[in-house]
Amino acid sequence: MIAFILRRLVASVGVLIAVGLIAFVMFRYVGDPVNQMVGIETSAQERAELRHQLGLDQPVIVQAARFLLNAARFDFGVSYQFKQPVADLIGARMPATLELALVASILSLAAGVPMGVYAALRRDSALASLLQALSLIGISLPTFLIGILLIYLFAVVLRWLPSFGRGDVVRIGSWWTTGLLTVSGLKSLIMPSITLALFQMTLIMRLVRAEMLEVMRSDYIRFARARGLSERTVHFRHALKNTLVPVITVVGLQLGSIVAFSIITETVFAWPGMGQLFLQSIQNADIPIMAAYLLMIATLFVIINLVTDLIYVAVDPRLRVHINRA
């Protein structure tokens, strides 16, 4: 078991190094950071000096090695555009993104599961067909379009909700800020979280529906019915419970992509999170922020996958036997 974990950890480190290197190579194609750091009248000489200070005139190998070594120490340096430490900048934006991702996940579960159950149990009802149709829209409409439509309807026409930003935030501890404790913060959260949750919600709904239909056909449900259990017990105690195992796995895995996908939602709603910071830094060829962000997202995915693997092993005895034999 320990060997398995170790093997997995080594593989994870390998993935991170690979991501780091790929990221580094990609940065060479986003443009010249020096151009974004100075005004247009700055002389070629001053630009060369700057390039030298940043180490951009060194051989690629040296730059890549330095980048990886610093990254291993979580040192991403100073942002080119803001002249502030990258760790501070990302740290200040992290609460916004995590709160948004968390609320979106809860929302997608809270709405997706009941909708999926309903669509499976009342397969032929009009509402179920409507849900199916809606889920198709949710899965196929691009996020930014949904965001803009929501903004137009609820901010411009009805004027119920704010169109951008995070509202007022409350500081908790030294670095966490939350918008969950103020009215304007909660109002600001509604549209971005719905926008971000919509795709996950439809995914969960379709998954629950498919799983539920599958489970409803299985023998133990038939036996449960034969035992004379009420429909309610059959549906929710037996069927739904067994449906949820794969659903939870998917939701866990999707948590990473919710954080990563939030880039678009954050940009549409000018949500001051990490995704917006990342997009700003691409436009400004701000390599330190891009590097830190990419590696952070990669780490997140690696951790989630690692934990999922370990949980599988803990849950499924068959896998354990297999591993011990190997």
């Binding site: 443009g31 151009n35 555009q81 000018a270």
Partner: protein, 535 residues
């Protein structure tokens, strides 16, 4: 019946309270100006980047010795007056009784210190004062500037050379703008202490910046704003929605597509005006063989007939009307009319495809040729669409253009000196920061000299020593009228005899402003909070 009257009484009471609440709160409500821009404020240290957005917004906190009024005229600010004792010796009399936001007195020491800081490491505004100029404190409120060369435009950019407090900067280790390889966060990047009409309250980089009114400002305020809140909203549709819904009072820019909607909305309007930036096309005239092209062994752009043919093939009126939807002024010169007194004597070469074809044939390209055009797609208003229009127009005279539209970070990397001026044909915009012709001759029209940065942004290296000589002659001429006559000669040679560049237009500014907010728009697109009033 009784029940109903009781209910109506309650309703009346509620109504009365509802009426009272806004009346009570309105009296004490501070006037908050909420402003949104497409980009972010990179730093509250004004020396950090020479970019007009940062310079103008930080100008609310840091003031210069001089400033510009709504008509762009220079006027006294922290200096009450100045005299040019001789062309190499300027004397400035400083305003007395001015205090910095944190209470320090403003004296000559602060000016001498700021002159060092602005030319020191990490500063991107090194050009504000010549490197070899000597700044001498005469007494607490008099400063001398001793120059090595005459410079009639010395103070033209000083509105954005904000004065720092020497003692404040020293106390906080902020005596230098942040070097690129700094490892500690710069104090002056998050805190500010100037003499200006607004005091920085907080700055969250890329998220939000808040200023409050400076009650002790030395000047009489023209604004009734108590607080300014700035938020970057990168997405254009969201920015417009925020204005339409009344969540912000002032946005820039409003995309051309949304201008009708902003005007149709009862509470908002577009404030448009000509900008001082000129958009133009440049051609590579330096390489012996044109790169990115089907022509081998020679460079067609070295032939003035080809350059003229390109010029005549472009229907700028159509670009201004169709691509820019009327929000552009076609330009005959590489400088905006408001910045050059003799502009009206110049007219664009006529749009004439037949003559263009003839010129191409005379130059040996009867069937045209093929060349790549480099174009930014996120820098100027409708930049990529302008290039597409140019591609279509040139196709009609037989020139096949391979359009390479890129984001600005890639575009500028390629066409800059560092990228080896790697472009054969390109679109660029230029605002002369000193707001006069010499700057354009120095950076855009001048023969490239890497040692002095003369011609530093002359990507195609158009070069005519006669033009350079005229520009240098103008620099020695103290009289503005005579100076402009010299510039007129230089414009005539460079743009009409040589066709060194193809000027297109000045794009229009488009601010979105709520009807309750009154702003003043300057053609250099500066945002001056001290001129804003709210009903």
């Amino acid at each position: 019946m009784r029940l109903r009257s009781a209910r109506s009484l309650v309703l009346t009471l509620i109504g009365a309270v509802a009426l009272l609440i806004p009346a009570l709160t309105q009296a004490a409500e501070p006037k908050i100006l909420r402003f949104a821009f497409q980009g972010e404020l990179k730093s509250v240290d004004p020396y950090q980047i020479n970019e007009s957005f940062s310079l103008s917004v930080n100008g609310a906190v840091y003031e210069g010795l001089v400033r510009r009024g709504p008509d762009m005229k220079l006027e006294p600010c922290l200096a009450t007056s100045w005299e040019v004792l001789d062309p190499l010796h300027w004397r400035f009399h400083l305003r007395k009784g001015v205090k910095f936001h944190e209470g320090q007195d403003f004296t000559a020491d602060d000016v001498v210190f700021s002159a060092q800081r602005v030319r020191g490491p990490g500063s991107d505004l090194k050009g504000r004062i010549p490197a070899d100029a000597e700044i001498v404190k005469v007494d607490d409120h008099t400063v001398d500037f001793l120059l090595k060369r005459p410079d009639p435009f010395l103070i033209n950019e000083w509105e954005t050379w904000g004065i720092f407090s020497k003692s404040w900067a020293e106390a906080h280790g902020a005596t230098e703008a942040t070097a690129m390889n700094a490892t500690t966060p710069p104090y002056a990047g998050l805190h500010a202490n100037g003499t200006g009409p607004f005091i920085l309250v907080s700055h969250e980089p890329g998220v939000k910046t808040v200023w409050k009114r400076n009650p002790n400002w030395w000047d009489k305020s023209k604004s009734n704003i108590d607080e300014v809140v700035f938020t970057p909203i990168p997405n254009a549709a969201t920015r417009v929605a925020a204005l339409l819904s009344g969540e912000v009072d002032w946005i820039d820019p409003v995309p051309l597509n949304d201008q009708a909607r902003v005007n149709a909305n009862p509470g908002t309007g577009v404030l448009a005006g000509p900008e001082v930036r000129t958009i133009f096309l440049g051609m590579d005239q330096s390489r012996d063989e044109l790169g990115h092209s089907s022509v081998k062994g020679k460079n067609p752009f070295k032939d003035v007939r080809v350059r003229k043919a390109f010029y005549e093939a472009i229907n700028e009126d159509a670009i201004a009307k169709k691509v820019m939807r009327g929000q552009a002024t076609p330009s005959a010169l590489m400088i905006a009319p408001s910045l050059f007194s003799l502009s009206k004597d110049f007219h664009r070469l006529p749009f004439d495809p037949a003559s263009s074809k003839k010129l191409l044939a005379e130059a040996g390209y009867p069937d045209g040729f093929e060349v790549q055009m480099d174009c930014p797609n996120d820098r100027y208003v409708n930049d990529e669409q302008i290039c597409q229009a140019v591609v279509g127009m040139l196709a009609r005279v037989g020139v096949k253009i391979d359009l390479n539209a890129e984001p600005k970070s890639k575009f500028f990397a390629a066409i800059s000196a560092a990228g080896g001026f790697d472009s054969s044909f390109y679109l660029l915009g230029w605002t002369p920061s000193t707001l006069e012709s010499f700057n354009v001759f120095q950076y855009i029209m001048g023969c490239r000299d890497p040692k002095t940065n003369w011609g530093g942004n002359n990507v195609g290296d158009y070069c005519n020593p006669k033009v350079d000589a005229l520009a240098r002659e103008a620099l020695q001429e103290p009289d503005e009228e005579k100076r402009d006559e010299i510039f007129a000669k230089a414009w005539k040679i460079s743009l009409f005899d040589d066709v060194g560049y193809i000027p297109l237009h000045q794009q229009a500014l488009a601010w979105g402003v709520s009807k309750h907010t009154h702003v003043i728009q300057r053609p250099d697109n500066y945002y001056i909070f001290a001129w804003v009033n709210k009903d």
